[in-house]
Symmetry: C2
Subunit: 594 residues, 2 copies
């Protein structure tokens, strides 16, 4: 049907006859002389229809004159050098003089034009038009190359690509499950997997040694810019390993893939940081190391000051008083400082104190009055603040202060252009095993309940649950958690102890995870693994903030596919076949409300 | 944790110290001298614990003496040549004299032993134990290599691996959809895709040119040995092509992959056969060409005979009278012949006439009396029957006779050892566009409603719907349809005409397929593709009849996962969150009945 691709026509073909297929990107009729930009997935080439004595040329000119945007064409013609070179495109040295033009499919007038800035809703409804644009093609192709590079690396190293079920059992891992009524089992349901976690552990027990899967996962959670109902992870598991092997291997994987796809060289080795250090220095368990700012603990310097909030939290067990210097921050207006306080409040702050040092070195701070002058000078000095800087202070419970001061750090980094270029990966390790949930008055797992604790045995864990550290690890890149994993529990008794500490009774554990507890009894090897967020890594590589840009058919933040109009109502007889009925609810009783 | 793999220890390592991890396959304590077969994913090696003066050797012996089946061990020892070579295993020239044995995880007594022939139910419940066996490892690994080889081939040729949604819109393609209640849209449902058909067509409209995906698909149908609720297909689509390009490309793909994975050389090119020829010669649209038997049409020879059933169908429009010679079939007993008749009846036969020729050439046939002797001899001669053979005859509607005589052909091929060795691929083409459904009194699509008809335009199609041939094609291997595809309709008007002929009204078409009809209006290129059944191809390669053997975690024929016990009941409050309730049905009111 074609002899060449549009985007690959070059000077080596001058004088030759080619046949091309593509879309009319632009068509210009200059009165008897027509130019068509013909586009395929490789790029654009200029087609010319011009008067000549050749038989049939009249038809060529007539067809060319009627070509409209996005018509599907097949064009045969001779390649020649262009008079006016277009340096902006790869084929800009040449053009194709048409000897035949066939309209394979005429396009109706478009709902929006690709060169316009259309809204996201209309772009999602006519996704096929949006995906035809070079920008979207480039972003999707970045994802394709990422996945290809990952697979090639893993295949070459003996990792086994094994599919695990999509129709599986409801086993809450923290998020809500999607449910699928089972026609052959009235009143029962399959669930879509939140991850292949248990299956990959079972595969290690089953002797597969090294496993990977580019796996679709499902979480019925509210959607944000960086979440979808279904998402894709590179899921990996290793038998007979400790954390060093998993980390070394996957770090090399990510480094090699970034080199191949992006041509960039990541640090070797990645820096490693404990969770405690990350919280202390950056107020985050996924610090963006491109921002050079760090939190400074100042409890010692404020514990005797007259500002009661500072003094109290500086002395309280589990309290924190931290400072953050913003270079050049003295330029912030009162209104801008209020915006920082409001931002911090979203992360739990009850107030954000500050101190400005003007260009003359004079201090301007609402809290200066609570200190004697030397003490306040010493406090500012501890933060490293100099002329023209601003210092923010936060006081409160350790985790809360870390969270909001970490958020302030990120905002300041962006506002002041302090986000360095390049790629800053690191490992965060030694997470707490459990967090105490005040509301539910019980422990919850910081990773997931299958993560091994870094303790000798069950007795040790029970005695030190509050301070136990897990064998989990996260890979962080430029402030994004791109991968998370752990060494797993491989003995049944330890798994039962962890369930117990999480408030999962023996009966519930048996009902939900009995097959795992059994599997751990029949010769489960030590094992561990990791999962990487493909959508997020692809978005980072493609340079976009929205993972929707690297998903061919994404859903909106209201969980709809605007292309196919899913979800949709189902006739009641079809629901009866799977033994369910729609509940009458206030929302559903008024179908016009949607 | 280990320096080598058990199965790869060989003579080159003699004298070296190695550390191995694996399972105790067999352990024998010969009173102070212990042998352990240590197994990992690469194979088995013999470990010896023997008396010596080395410090700590007592502990090694004591540990070895307590090792049980499937204990997880880490063993360090020195490789030495064996006295009694075991030629059956790759490591049989050597053994490892243990200097340290660590029990990493003790196994409880096993529910079944891998060396036994356990029932499938217990093997599925303890799938991890079953998968550890060399037989299951081999079969799963064949599938892994198949998928790897397919991907490598496609990646090298510029096919783009693009993921399409799992949560999508209910668009019946013939089978029942799985439904997923939408929490954010009360009363609405997503559906799991029966195939990515429409998405891949949209991708062609979107300019991706060449697409593939190893795609999970879902059909809520009764399960048979070769069906699962979820299955995997290699899904492909090409833009700007005709059927020749799709067929040539994918035939080369399958040929290259069989060479790489199986070391076999498939025919080049594959034979091609129209659907009509396949039905006529083999009574099947997926003929097993390893069986040399062919149906013979004998209407001309029986149309004047005295056997009314034969004479009537021989003259009737749409009738068929066909014969099948079974070499050596005269040896069949009356009871065995009855079994053939019963088998044929399952495929619609109302009676299976036969004629035997004994070793002396004498004819034995209940229908001989309806013929004069010469005519019956001529009839037998037309079938090629000779001494010792049997001929079956079928009469009835063309399709029915083809179906049951095709079934008889397969049974005879197996019963008489007439299934040749090797691999016999072919293309079946020129399918009828529509079949008339007597029950529903309307046309149904033989492929699917997006398959292009081999006609000039909509008027041509409307005028000749009953006889129209489609641009569909199936790839058949050894009697299995391993791939099916077509050139698609790429113009909206033709798609609407096909919907109309299938009895899908304009409103219904708009509601279900509006986005496709729209996409075809905005510059859809000519396109076509194919989908291959990965589970079936893997099963063929692994030499098993059951696709469950090449799926890590399959469901039973009653749609259950015996490992995880899915599906399962869900607490009502969780159902309320997604706005559904379980219907009370006779089956569900008596939960004890399950």
């Amino acid at each position: 049907m074609r002899t060449h691709f549009c985007g690959l026509i070059d000077e080596s073909l001058v004088g030759q006859t080619v046949t091309l297929c593509g879309w009319a990107d632009v068509a210009r009729d200059l009165g008897g002389l027509c130019f068509i930009d013909l586009r395929d997935h490789e790029g654009i080439v200029q087609i010319v229809a011009e008067p000549s004595d050749a038989p049939g040329n009249g038809a060529v000119l007539a067809t060319a004159a009627r070509v409209g945007y996005e018509d599907c064409l097949r064009v045969t013609g001779r390649v020649r050098r262009r008079q006016s070179v277009n340096a902006k495109i790869r084929t800009g040295q040449v053009e194709v003089v048409a000897t035949a033009i066939e309209v394979l499919n005429k396009a109706e007038p478009l709902p929006f034009h690709a060169h316009e800035n259309a809204g996201e809703d209309i772009r999602l409804k006519y996704r096929y038009l949006d995906l035809r644009t070079p920008k979207m093609q480039r972003m999707l192709r970045t994802r394709i190359r990422l996945v290809q590079a990952l697979r090639r690396w893993l295949d070459a190293r003996g990792f086994q690509d094994i599919e695990t079920p999509i129709l599986t059992k409801a086993t809450p891992e923290g998020a809500r499950d999607f449910l699928v009524p089972a026609r052959m089992h009235p009143g029962e349901f399959y669930a879509l997997p939140q991850s292949p976690q248990l299956f990959k552990q079972i595969l290690m027990v089953a002797g597969f040694d090294r496993y990977y899967q580019i796996a679709r996962c499902f979480r019925d959670e509210a959607l944000r810019a960086d979440r979808q109902l279904e998402f894709t992870q590179l899921d990996m598991e290793f038998a007979w390993v400790d954390e060093q092997i998993v980390q070394d291997t996957t770090e090399a994987l990510i480094r090699d893939v970034f080199r191949e796809v992006m041509g960039v060289e990541l640090a070797d080795p990645f820096p490693r940081m404990t969770w405690a250090e990350a919280m202390r220095r950056y107020g985050s368990d996924k610090p963006d190391l491109r921002i050079a700012l760090e939190l400074v603990d100042v409890a010692d310097l404020v514990k005797d000051c007259g500002f009661k909030v500072f003094a109290d939290w500086a002395s309280a067990e589990g309290g924190r008083v931290a400072a953050l210097r913003i270079p050049g921050g003295a330029a912030l207006s009162r209104k801008q400082i209020d915006e920082y306080a409001a931002h911090a409040a979203k992360f739990g702050s009850k107030g954000l104190a500050y101190a400005k040092l003007d260009e003359a070195g004079a201090v301007n701070s609402p809290i200066a009055k609570f200190f004697d002058e030397a003490a306040f000078a010493a406090l500012l000095q501890a933060t490293g603040a100099g002329k023209g800087d601003l210092v923010f202070f936060g006081a409160g419970p350790y985790r809360t202060v870390s969270d909001f001061m970490g958020a302030v750090r990120l905002k300041a980094g962006k506002d002041f252009g302090l986000v360095g270029a390049g790629w800053k990966p690191l490992w965060v390790t030694d997470f707490p095993m459990f967090e105490w949930d005040e509301e539910e008055q019980r422990y919850v797992a910081l990773h997931h309940p299958f993560t091994a604790p870094a303790v000798d045995d069950e007795a040790d864990l029970r005695a030190n649950a509050a301070t136990a550290v897990s064998r989990g690890y996260d890979m962080v890149l430029n402030g994004n958690e791109i991968g998370g994993g752990s060494i797993r529990i491989h003995r049944s008794a330890m798994q039962s102890a962890v369930f117990e500490l999480l408030g999962i009774g023996a009966e519930e554990a048996r009902a939900k995870f009995g097959f795992l507890l059994d599997a751990l009894k029949y010769g489960a090897p030590p094992h561990g693994g990791i999962a990487f967020g493909i959508d997020r890594i692809a978005a980072l590589m493609a340079g976009t903030d929205s993972i929707r840009d690297v998903i061919a058919f994404p859903k909106t933040t209201s969980a709809q596919c605007l292309l196919t109009d899913a979800p949709s109502p189902i006739p009641d007889p079809q629901l009866a076949e799977v033994h369910v009925a729609v509940r009458k609810t206030p929302e559903s009783e008024n179908p016009g409300s949607r």
